[in-house]
């Protein structure tokens, strides 16, 4: 209707309004669900859906015909709240198949934005004093969205620049309510077709851990302690006196997110250096720390022109319980070629003990392809992996996705695969060339 440029199309008429009403309708119904006094995370998501539709509505009035096509495309790609939760499920486990996997690298939990009055109220409700009393200066407008909340700049009374992460109120209760719903007899089957109780337990553990900012503070300290050997790495420092379960105050980490960093056209040498450092960090986490900064969202890495890397957002940290070192050692040496016994051992590492060898061995060609990219074979082979090459990323992504898609995959391995996927996509954007094998050897010797 509004393609004609008519400024007074009827509400609920043709075109966009009609088209969006399905999603809106669903959103509102879930919003109603979320309006129950204790709240629902799904409800928050639903609210997001229609509030953003509302913003689109305003924008539409402004641009009329010009933006109509784009707006409709956006609405077309808009996912329902149920789908969103499904994706979240898949981030924690491998409960969901393909549709979710393509978005794995960029997934984050979102909470509705808070206006300055609400952010201030939540800060005060959690710490017992208002931000203006706690800090020398406090910026009312957030500078970044965080999982479950938002981040504000501030300066402490001592004059230190800090980032203050404030959680949306009552999000923990909301997630608990949703999980109760998920556990009910009918919901899981409808939502994912596959969400057994132990997986929901795992999700609950992960989600609820993420809502506890005190836990995140402890994670930061663990990583700072264990990774202090890396002098190129900056981690935030927690200000415990201004931190609670729902507010996290930490030192401000300087740097630019990848897209902005690349706008400066960094030299190839710098890209390679940063890429090498990122891989080194990754392997150290997997093999020595045996805990992984699991949120490889591009916004969580900050880069500086001198090659320094800032790592932020430690809400999602995963302990590694399977022998990743042994698996990579086998990959580098292609030990499965030694015979069935060894191949079975390697595959048990990937799939866990429950999957019969006959079924698991179908995965061997995939392993071959992946190792050929990451750890090139033969004396003459160039040991540098060129992550900038679309082909490399494609092969890696394909094999990892294939591993993820297979519902028999060991959740531990699936989890590492996802983290790798995030890392590889960052390295691809960086166009970095990295000698992965050499880094792995150093780490392996070290551990």
């Amino acid at each position: 209707m509004f393609e004609t440029g008519c400024p007074c199309y009827p509400e609920g008429g043709l075109g966009l309004v009609k088209k969006s009403s399905g999603a809106l309708h669903r959103g509102l119904r879930l919003g109603k669900l979320g309006l129950s006094l204790t709240g629902s995370y799904l409800g928050y998501q639903a609210q997001n859906i229609f509030l953003s539709e509302e913003k689109r509505d305003q924008r539409r009035r402004r641009f009329q015909t010009q933006s109509s096509r784009r707006v409709r495309e956006e609405l077309g790609s808009m996912k329902g709240a149920v789908m969103k939760l499904g994706q979240l499920l898949s981030q924690q486990t491998h409960a969901l198949p393909e549709a979710a996997i393509s978005e794995l690298a960029n997934l984050q939990m979102h909470a509705p934005g808070m206006h300055p009055t609400l952010a201030r109220a939540q800060f005060k409700s959690s710490l017992g004093l208002a931000p203006e009393d706690a800090f020398r200066t406090f910026e009312e407008e957030p500078f970044a969205a965080a999982s479950l909340g938002q981040v504000h700049r501030a300066v402490t009374r001592e004059g230190k620049k800090v980032a203050v992460k404030i959680q949306y109120p009552a999000i923990r209760t909301a997630i608990e309510n949703d999980l109760k719903l998920l556990r009910s007899a009918t919901f899981p089957a409808r939502l994912t077709g596959y969400a057994p109780a132990d997986i929901i337990d795992e999700i609950q553990r992960g989600f609820l851990e993420e809502t506890d900012y005190l836990q995140e503070g402890r994670n930061i300290e663990l990583f700072a302690r264990e990774l202090k050997g890396f002098d190129f790495l900056t981690l935030p420092k927690v200000h415990w006196d201004l931190t609670s379960e729902r507010v996290l105050t930490m030192s401000f980490v300087e740097g630019e997110i990848i897209s902005r960093f690349l706008e400066r056209h960094p030299s190839q040498a710098l890209r390679d250096l940063i890429g090498t450092r990122m891989v080194e960090l990754y392997y150290t986490q997997v093999h020595e720390l045996r805990a992984l900064h699991a949120d490889h969202h591009p916004g969580n890495y900050l880069f500086q022109p001198d090659g320094w890397i800032g790592l932020i957002d430690f809400g999602c940290v995963k302990r590694i319980n399977f022998d990743a070192s042994s698996l990579i050692r086998s990959c580098v040496g292609r030990t499965w070629r030694q015979g069935d016994k060894e191949a079975a051992r390697v595959l048990r590492l990937v799939f866990g003990p429950r999957i019969p060898y006959a079924r698991a061995r179908k995965m061997l060609p995939t392993l071959e392809v992946m190792t050929s990219v990451l750890y090139p074979e033969g004396k003459d082979a160039d040991p540098l992996v060129d992550f900038g090459k679309a082909q490399s990323l494609k092969v890696l992504a394909k094999t990892l996705k294939q591993a993820l898609r297979d519902k028999v995959t060991n959740p531990e391995f699936a989890f590492i695969s996802r983290a790798e996927l995030g890392l590889f996509s960052l390295l691809h954007q960086l166009n970095a060339r990295v000698n992965v094998r050499e880094i792995w050897r150093r780490c392996d010797r070290g551990s």
Binding site: T38, S125, P169, A174, R246
Partner: protein
Amino acid sequence: MRSKHQKPTRPTRPRGKRHENKERNRQAILKAALDLFAEKGFCQTTTRAISRKAKIAEGTLFNYFQTKEDLALYFFEQELAQIIAWYQRDKRIRNAGLPEKLFAIIHRLLDRLAPYEEFIGAVYLRALQPASRLSPLSLSTQEQNLRYLRFVREILAEAAAEGEIPDTGDLGAYGFALFHLAVITYWLQDRSGGKEDTLALLDRCLKLAAHAIRKGGWDW
């Protein structure tokens, strides 16, 4: 947009020294009473204790407030005046979106009530009795009710003038007043840490309501 309904927060009277003294005594009594309510609880606080703390003879105290209900009425009158004055002073909030404005008004009141939660709870129970002077239907609360309704109606009218919502007239103000009472009731029952459940409820209800008013209803 300033409407003709805007009035000073207290009726204008000639304000002599005598009036000033009276007002000072009132304030002193209220402060003493609130301190004692917070310390000992509403029911345990005697008028004698209040008069002693306020350094005013018990007989004189009755000249100002005959019952604890009168004290409560005066308390709310003061709080309302404070909020209206704050709103008119705070430029940022006056330029904020409607949901934030309304959030700020309710939250600011809750924030100020927080130290006297038990007192407010007791007052609420009394206000439910139809014969109580605190009842929203009683004549003694009418002046304050109207002041509150005018204040809210003006905010809604400003939002309407800026095209944020359609004009809701008196109905909008009445609706908001009811919602405000409901939120205070919820807040009194809220056992979550820092009463954050109230914050979430308030935020989400206001956003949803603003959306619904804009769209002319909920399209379930």
